[in-house]
Symmetry: C2
Subunit: 194 residues, 2 copies
Amino acid sequence: MTSPAGRTTPEAPTRRAEILAAAAELFARRGFHGASIGDVGRAVGLTGPALYRHFSGKEAVLAEMLLDISQRLHAEGLRRAAEPEPDRALDALLHWHIAFALDNPALITVHERELDNVPEAQRHEIRRLQRAYVEEWVRVLRRLRPGLPEDRTRAAVHACFGLLNSTPYSAAALDRDSMAVLLHTMARSALTTA
Amino acid sequence: MTSPAGRTTPEAPTRRAEILAAAAELFARRGFHGASIGDVGRAVGLTGPALYRHFSGKEAVLAEMLLDISQRLHAEGLRRAAEPEPDRALDALLHWHIAFALDNPALITVHERELDNVPEAQRHEIRRLQRAYVEEWVRVLRRLRPGLPEDRTRAAVHACFGLLNSTPYSAAALDRDSMAVLLHTMARSALTTA
DNA sequence: GGACGATGTTAATCGTCATTAACATCGTCA
DNA sequence: TGACGATGTTAATGACGATTAACATCGTCC
């Protein structure tokens, strides 16, 4: 063999994260079913079967990825929504979501599209967190616009996410900060006019 | 055999359209690679191989689907953008895109996600039409907001599409007309504030 | 009333893919 | 220094899926 089987460098602590990052990129670009375990392995310099040393299977990779994303979004969302001034709370939520989307376009994409491919067991918890995150936004917005009925408020929040998550497709054109400002302005305006 | 092979009813003129519609639904819900030819066939009451009587292959189904969508969007986009008053032109574009998205959520989803799975040959033409459609919006918006630099304008249009195309995920909550009004209001506000 | 084209069906074919088995290598540490 | 656990690798294994082959059926039209 041209290269020995084992690796000398003990990059163990990063390995799982490395795999998750590569998988996110591939799942985002080609879809869960469009990226194979072999593709993911190759992306981190391994063969396909090697991934089974770190995850119990392909679905487990996706599940852990989505669970992590929804936890991060929800946890920080809770914090930001706690701001007493609803106007400031909304800005804080916007800043948070925009930063996350711009810094992790692949994660946002996968989070938005691939829930159905997560095994039942973990799907419920992820969905719960996603819903809870949305509800934080709804609560803040309702304090800001008490007249708006709840279902319309929720629909507006979903539409707003659509706007913010469009990042992966167009972020290339503008530098990060210009894009962040643009998205913030547009989203704020859309929500407060709804 | 329990049922005869040939069909008596000459539903020939609809068959292709029927297949395209079923495929759109499945591709939207599960992704191009997540839906098999067998699934599509079953959805229209046929077996998988039967589809080859109507399309040269799975990719051809997707290609025809995306080509049709991008042509329809672009053709009508051209018409609406021709309105001399930029303010009215924008409203006309919004009405058109919103109606299309609300009436064809599956098509919008596939159009947005699956271009990479179209064979090169047809991909270029589809991309050209998609770009041209965006440019119609950009042109209108630039007349409306001359101060906004072109790249920011284009980014704003992309973000606006993200908002409008979020329809598939949340449209269930509101009736069609309320949703249309909501999206129109939000999008208009987002674009003119950008 | 029989030949033909359009449409379908079921039975190969062939490749890809997830997953598992069997077999190294390396670092550690008793 | 030698056994062991952690990580990898290369061969199975077993499904599944796209596509094609071989074989009906039906309606039409001469």
